[in-house]
């Protein structure tokens, strides 16, 4: 069933210039311009999607996830500019060697045809049309049917940009068939689809894992923050709040605080002081032995067994008492998802233990878990945060959307 669209994407990929060609720089530049020029039509299509969702009775919080505003427009345009700046980092490098050949180079190559599957959030359409394509990949974008009109309008802006940049328009295909049959058929084509990037609900990601196509995905963020008795407790409180409140449902949000019993009372008092006079809905799910230590000003509920290993997606943090770093690391091993783990401590041995033994895409020492973000860390613009163990782990930046060829200049050398 998908042969036609797969062969069109493959043909565009084959016809596209190599990584680093000036056409990609032009594409990033003109995509920003085309998004602005097409904005009235994109906004109109989005209004139609939002109205349709409201007619179907979708809850207001979900409708808001479909809506594109001028803020989103400005962010998308800024993303094109940032990506353009970062293109120069994806370049050929010489590898130091001492063997027969005099020179060995690593030459970046695109991954190939990339299938992105996502739900709602039409800004992901621009993420997918920008980052992979800027380094020579072809993309098939399978968004949610709730934003079909918006995605179609975004595709027109993207195609206009590709044409102006001198790139094949077939590099970006927004799949307009909402049927699951097409998605199933594509997932069965590892011969034609080189990489799969799902961004969406756990069920969607799990379904994509059944495909034989190599996958770049996040397994969700069941993230912990361990507060050791040597910690600066004021910092521990600030890190807790920054790791949860700005984006309670974000994948780098803290879900469970592993609190050293020796400082539990002092930590709760510091937390109550920090929240005094602030409007917040923060709720702690506390283990029974901690309840008596929590000041009345803090909102608490009993910790339930199913709270361990849970992503609350709300301003809720589970609090589990631990004796030492070994107990904390053991808890992380049993319940963590390998996304983001943090430690607040002054003791070098404790910090070293966490640095070396917490097995996650990112280990944060004495800071907010939300530092785990490509642009925030200066690693570059990211299309996802990966928790897989191969090819890329952590922020999926431009450099992770390519593979490479080794190229050697033998200068006449033979192996013999």
């Amino acid at each position: 069933m998908p042969d036609g669209l797969l062969s069109r994407a493959r043909a565009a990929f084959d016809a596209a210039p190599p990584v680093g060609d000036a056409a990609y720089d032009r594409y990033c530049q003109v995509l920003g311009e085309e998004l602005l020029a097409h904005w009235p039509r994109i906004a109109g299509a989005n209004a139609a999607d939002v109205a349709a969702a409201q007619r179907l009775g979708m809850p207001p919080t979900l409708v808001e996830r479909l809506r594109l505003t001028d803020v989103h427009r400005d962010r998308m345009v800024a993303l094109t500019a940032m990506t353009r700046q970062e293109l120069r980092q994806v370049r050929e490098t010489e590898v130091p060697v001492s063997g027969a050949a005099r020179h060995v180079h690593r030459v970046p190559r695109p991954l190939g045809v990339v299938l992105m599957v996502y739900e709602a959030r039409p800004t992901v359409t621009v993420d997918g049309a920008l980052l992979p394509v800027a380094v020579g990949n072809a993309v098939l974008l399978r968004g949610g049917k709730e934003t079909a009109a918006t995605n179609a309008a975004l595709e027109r802006a993207v195609h206009a940009a590709l044409a102006r940049a001198g790139l094949p328009t077939g590099l970006v295909t927004v799949l307009d068939d909402p049927q699951r049959r097409l998605l199933r058929a594509l997932l069965k084509r590892p011969d034609q689809v080189d990489v799969l990037i799902p961004r969406g609900s756990p069920a969607l990601v799990e379904h994509c894992r059944t495909s034989a196509i190599p996958l770049i995905a996040s397994g969700g963020g069941v993230n912990h923050l361990y507060v050791h008795r040597s910690a600066d407790l004021e910092l521990a409180v600030r890190a807790t709040l920054d790791s949860k409140l700005p984006e309670p449902a974000g994948c780098t949000s803290v879900e469970t605080l592993l609190l050293d019993r020796a400082v539990a009372r002092d930590y709760f008092e510091a937390l109550a002081r920090a929240l005094a006079g602030r409007e917040t809905e923060l709720t702690l799910h506390t283990a029974p032995e901690l309840t008596a230590l929590v000041p009345a000003a803090l909102k608490t509920e009993p910790l339930a067994a199913h709270d361990l290993g849970r992503e609350f997606l709300d301003p809720v943090v589970a609090v589990v008492p631990v004796d030492d770093e070994r107990a904390a690391l053991d808890h992380v091993r049993r319940h963590g998802s390998g996304h983001t783990e943090g430690v607040i401590a002054r003791d070098r041995h404790v910090i070293d233990a966490f640095r070396r033994r917490a097995d996650a895409a990112m280990v944060v020492v004495n800071g907010s878990l939300r530092l785990h973000d490509g642009p925030t860390l200066g690693l570059g613009t990211e299309i996802a945060i990966a928790t897989g163990r191969l090819h890329v782990r952590g922020p999926v930046t431009l450099g992770a959307l390519v593979t490479h060829s080794y190229v050697t200049d033998g200068a006449g050398a033979l192996r013999g």
Partner: protein, 93 residues
């Protein structure tokens, strides 16, 4: 020729509960979820934007094909609502 068949409600209930637990990012045995558990509440957090993924997971688990528009235009409040709709669906294997 695809074969139409009806689904066993208990089998559907187990699969639906397994999927809503995963969708709510919980680690919990499916049999700990009550039929009248709200889809958005203290325990579960399931929204309609995740329905495509849930449908394909349910299809995977039951090894059947469900109608594409199964969840369209319906409102679901509890786990039982989901179980009922999937059980009553005309499915193909």
């Amino acid at each position: 020729m695809p074969q139409e068949l009806s689904l066993d409600r208990d089998a559907v209930a187990t699969v639906v509960k397994k999927v809503v637990v995963a969708e709510s990012r919980l680690s919990l045995p499916p049999d700990r979820v009550r039929d009248d558990e709200p889809l958005v509440g203290d325990l579960l957090n399931v929204n309609s934007l995740g329905f495509v993924g849930m449908l394909v997971r349910i299809e995977d688990e039951l090894d059947v094909t469900l109608p594409d528009d199964l969840f369209v235009g319906r409102s679901f409040r509890t786990v039982r609502d989901l179980i009922d709709v999937v059980t009553a669906a005309e499915v193909q294997r």
